[in-house]
Amino acid sequence: MNPKREFTCINCPLSCTVTVSPGEAGLTVSGHECRRGEEYALQEYTDPRRVLTGTVAVDGAALPRLPVKTDGPIPKTLVREAAAALSRIKVRAPVRCGEIIVANFAGSGSNLVATRDLGPDLDL
């Protein structure tokens, strides 16, 4: 069984320390002041996810780097591996904001998409 864990809720300035403890009857959540804290801690305990943002190399553009993100939150355990995979990608300009760079990126189920227009000139 997983051990009990503590999380700092990020939903409001209260920053509750919420504890999730596994037991015979399932997970027990304590320390939260509202429902959002409970939901946050349960999500963080069972399936923590993050949107990965970063940049990839781009050729033929006014800038050497193209900003990108995953179009949905990916499992937190995949974040480092996915970030390392960004350094192996190179695209060719022009690129449009929202364009898919890699589908099902790093097996995460989310696509890697461009987050800006980028062409040979800064006014694409």
């Binding site: 409001c12 943002t53 970063g54 006014a62 800038l63 050497p64 974040v79 800006r116 227009d117």
Partner: protein, 428 residues
């Protein structure tokens, strides 16, 4: 060479989120002859280098990255044919009579607009504005400079990193550097509490097990050419390093995230009074400064934690400037003051009559639980709300309904106050 440019009705200085939203709003409010001046090669301002997400949660209900947020507003501005955009153009001087001089590769430009919106943003406090004894080696950067280097220029500043200050950009760069393969050895914060938002402490430091040392500072820089390491030490309650408790950390890069300062060189030149509490111009509810024809919005007025609020106040400035060009308010003005427990309030004055809802933005002086925030006029409550917890890094807002403002007369004062809320009252 003297560059001849037709005088616009309205000039907007700065093409970041504030300038973009202000220009679009002024256009929609009837001003069809606008010139926006931006010194960088492209529009969007600092958002272009903020590739992380979390922008737009408040006004769009969706989390966007900085470039995506900027893109949305650049598109809005380009869609309006009466807004002329001049990038690569830096405003050099501004007189109280609204005489504006700018320079770009074509030459010098002099303009005499009828109204000006100041949207120059803010800049980072540098190593020379905090006391950092030691040598002056390479490898000392501000967090925003590192952000630009990594995200836009594709340059890594170093491998072993120490961060001084826990402002939001510093926290975000701790994560960014880690994901790019650098080792962030720790974030050192002189205050007993983090300077940035909780969200960033959790997702940028805790997620990557980067240590945060509160009540600590950097006391010495080592290295003659490149940074070789720093001394760090805990500080006492007055922020003084404790002697004998110093330790040396080998590192090649020190990143400073030690505060932002509204960029008001041009504002001062134009003779516009500044509020010492914010570092920005005194404004009214239309974001009009105290000098007729000058408006201001965004981080030039006070440093915001969320761009969403920059957009909202910039739209007010745009509408305010368009209205000013048509007719002017003549009903006197009321003062807005920061009362007990409040660090500052923006706007600092209300021009009368106040016939639209007014948003008061403010910060508290210290962290406190269970409080009641009120806007008071002669003992009457104009607006109030309860908060479970307030912290200086998180900006607060109270909205005054226009029906409560009809009784205001010139010379009146509105005061924003914070009171501890008794959680449980009982008689002894």
């Amino acid at each position: 060479m003297i560059n001849t440019q037709q005088n616009p009705e309205l000039a907007v200085i700065g093409g970041g989120p504030a300038g973009l939203a202000a220009a679009a709003a002024a256009y929609d409010a009837g001003c069809k002859n606008i010139l926006l001046l931006e010194r960088d090669r492209e529009l969007g301002g600092i958002l272009n280098q903020c590739v992380h997400d979390g922008f737009g949660n408040f006004i769009f209900g969706a989390s966007m990255t900085g470039p995506e947020y900027a893109h949305r507003f650049v598109r809005e501005v380009r869609r309006r044919p009466g807004i002329k955009l001049l990038t690569g153009t830096m405003v050099l001087s501004l007189s109280p009579e609204r005489r504006l001089t700018a320079a770009n590769p074509e030459g010098l430009l002099t303009l005499q607009p009828e109204a000006v919106i100041l949207a120059m943003g803010c800049r980072e406090r540098s190593r020379f504005q905090v006391l950092l004894p030691g040598y002056r080696p390479a490898g000392v950067y501000t967090a925003g400079a590192v952000q630009r280097l990594i995200n836009m220029e594709g340059v890594m500043p170093g491998e072993r990193i120490v961060i001084l200050g826990s402002g939001d950009i510093g926290l975000i760069m701790a994560r960014r550097l880690t994901l790019e393969g650098a080792r962030v050895l720790g974030v050192f914060e002189i205050a007993p509490r983090p300077g940035g938002l909780t969200r960033n402490v959790v997702q940028c430091l805790d997620d990557f097990s980067i240590p945060l040392y509160l009540s600590h500072t950097v006391t010495f820089l080592h290295g003659k050419k490149r940074l070789e390491g720093v001394n760090v030490a805990p500080v006492d309650e007055k922020g003084r390093p404790q002697s004998g408790a110093e330790r040396f950390i080998p590192c090649d890069t020190l990143i400073l995230s030690v505060g932002l300062i509204p960029e008001n060189e041009l504002t001062r030149q134009a003779g516009i009074p500044l509020d010492p509490a914010t570092g920005g111009p005194v404004v009214d509810q239309d974001m009009a400064t105290s000098v007729p024809g000058f408006f201001a919005c965004g981080n030039v007025v006070h440093v915001h934690d969320l761009v969403d609020y920059v957009t909202l106040t910039a739209q007010r400035a745009g509408r305010g400037a368009a209205r000013y060009l048509r007719n002017r308010k003549t009903g006197g003005e009321a003062r807005v003051m920061a009362g007990e427990g409040i660090a500052y309030v923006v706007p600092q004055r209300l021009s009368l009559p106040a016939d639209e809802a007014v948003d008061l933005y403010f910060r508290v002086q210290a962290e406190q639980r269970e409080v009641r925030l009120q806007a008071l006029h002669r003992g009457t409550v104009l607006a109030q709300k309860k908060e479970r917890m307030v912290r200086p890094p998180e900006m607060l807002r109270l909205t005054l309904d226009p029906s409560r403002l009809s009784g205001l007369a010139g010379g009146d004062t509105i005061e924003v106050t914070l009171k501890g809320e008794a959680v449980h009252e009982s008689k002894a």
